[in-house]
Point group: C2
Chain length 323, copies 2
């Protein structure tokens, strides 16, 4: 039995508690809507803008909660993780705010701007080769050397509880949502969201959305057996990871459906949001709206919430320019 | 004596009245701030986000007021203007909301996306050659044919009063600003802003900001004589127009200073806002922040409001990509 199978699915009360613990440390991000988006969608959409969150992504919620919750003896030697994405910055800033060290393993080919962002928060960066094996091996070395506590990006109940706080805020602002749509990568955000909705708004359907070319959650949900992700060739770079047993269990218990979208649909929805709403979202965040626009999620005469997961991306190459 | 010289500088009371007339028709846009921007600026900045305004720019305020204020006999045959920019869309939508026709003269080389946006609001588009002469001649033909009333983008007191409503909202949200910074194109926005501040917050300095390569307002302000713009070779495409006598008079009476910035400084400030604040602003809107970053406006230990004029631009070519 793996470590994660022993983990318990968080309860709604635990998500609520997490929210109360972190609410002063995270931004309460705005919920935006757009007539032009609604006209095209045929329903009323409400975007919870975690692209305006600290570090530019919802990941700061989970990291703040998980790191804040560490016992002093576990926190003493700092925290560690491997990530080239939003989780790296989230752990770096949350550790800084607790006043402990952060050790981040990043692949040697990580964009310099991301490495600098992590260092700007005062974290120590150790480079690995870009393979998963090298990243994990390097992380283990760092942990053995430093005694730091590993903060997994999603296979961690405290992380999931923290991520659920975005949905609580969304439902406080818009209590009568028929649907909440969330992108699925490793499953931390949708797990927290679905647990939050189960207690706060039991009639609200929670639907996961995923790129067709990285449809591990879709296959897992439909077959009832966890499938690892096969391809990582999606523009939605935040969604290239596989579910863990823990997040898969959360999804099986609390999520109502999982649907997929094509790469072109992601890029089209992303461009639509940039052009009409004037906000910068990363490709992963466009996946839920793509599922509305392609008809896989019907919002006609409904109110749907969408969690915009983040806004971090390379502004030198925009996906529609490569087409 | 030209038509515009006969125009009276609007009073603060007129700007207030305009605000009350249009407040239900325009978005009350949010005022955002960013720790990362403040850290670099060395002061507290508050961004009034007119990029989230209807049609994506503050221009909708003035157009709504000017068109709403027309006597029925002047409105009967619709309104007309020539513009390839935000004023075109603003007039189109404001006319639609009043239920009258809009006739927009656009240069034949105008980007298709801008032509379509104007047509989407139900306006009639007539193409001219791209020279100023052809645009004006074509506009005159359209007006003679249709009997429509000309809505000038800034040489019009009703337009100026409407633009001032953005500053009123900003000062309602942040009453203790030491400075308000605004970009200067034709001068409509800064005129309305300065008049609003003169009544609402007389201790607040209003400072105009302008590209160095299109520094007509700077020269006019410093010499006391109106200079037409010489070059239109700035990335800030909304700021390529000259002041009118009316806006120059407003600036002389109510504006505290005018400063300039280089093209590189504009692009740097624009990219900083995109990256750190995750909002899409057009190049013209970055000019005030560029003046803070380059030290021409000192905000140390001060509170400064910045009006983000709009967010409409071609997302296929970003200025930092051309560098």
């Amino acid at each position: 039995m793996t470590e994660s199978l022993k983990m318990k699915i968080p309860t709604f009360k635990e998500v609520q508690k997490a929210y109360l613990k972190i609410r002063e440390k995270v931004h309460r991000t705005p919920v935006l809507s757009s007539q032009k988006v609604n006209d095209r969608a045929g329903g009323e959409l409400f975007f919870k803008c975690e692209n305006f969150q600290k570090v530019g992504a919802f990941k700061f919620r989970g990291a703040t909660h998980a790191i804040g919750n560490l016992a002093d003896e576990d926190a003493r030697n700092g925290v560690a993780t491997h990530s080239s994405g939003n989780h790296a910055q989230a752990v770096a800033l949350a550790a800084k705010q607790r006043g402990i060290a952060a050790h981040i393993v990043m692949p040697e080919n990580a964009p310099k701007v991301k490495v600098n962002a992590v260092r700007d928060y005062g974290a120590n960066v150790t480079f690995s080769k870009s393979t998963q094996e090298s990243r994990e091996a390097t992380l283990n070395e760092v942990i053995q050397e430093t005694g730091a506590t590993f903060i997994h990006p999603y296979d961690n109940p405290d992380i999931i509880m923290g991520q659920g706080s975005a949905a609580i805020e969304l439902l406080e602002d818009q209590p009568n949502l028929d649907i909440i749509l969330v992108p699925i990568g490793g499953g931390g955000l949708i797990s927290g969201t679905a647990i939050a909705a189960s207690g706060f708004a039991p009639d609200t359907n929670v639907i996961g959305t995923e790129p067709e070319v990285a449809n591990d959650a879709y296959l897992s949900f439909k077959t009832g057996e966890r499938h690892p992700v096969q391809s990582t060739d999606t523009v939605a770079d935040g969604l290239r990871t596989s579910l863990s047993d823990l997040t898969f269990n959360c999804i099986q218990k609390h999520v109502d459906d999982v649907v997929t979208v094509t790469e072109d649909e992601i890029i089209d929805a992303m461009q639509f949001i940039w052009e009409r709403m004037k906000i910068i979202i990363e490709p992963s965040s466009a996946v839920p709206l793509a599922a509305v626009f392609n008809g896989n999620v019907d919002v006609e005469n409904k109110k749907a919430g969408i969690i915009i997961s983040g806004g971090n991306m390379d502004l030198n190459t925009l996906p529609w320019q490569e087409n």
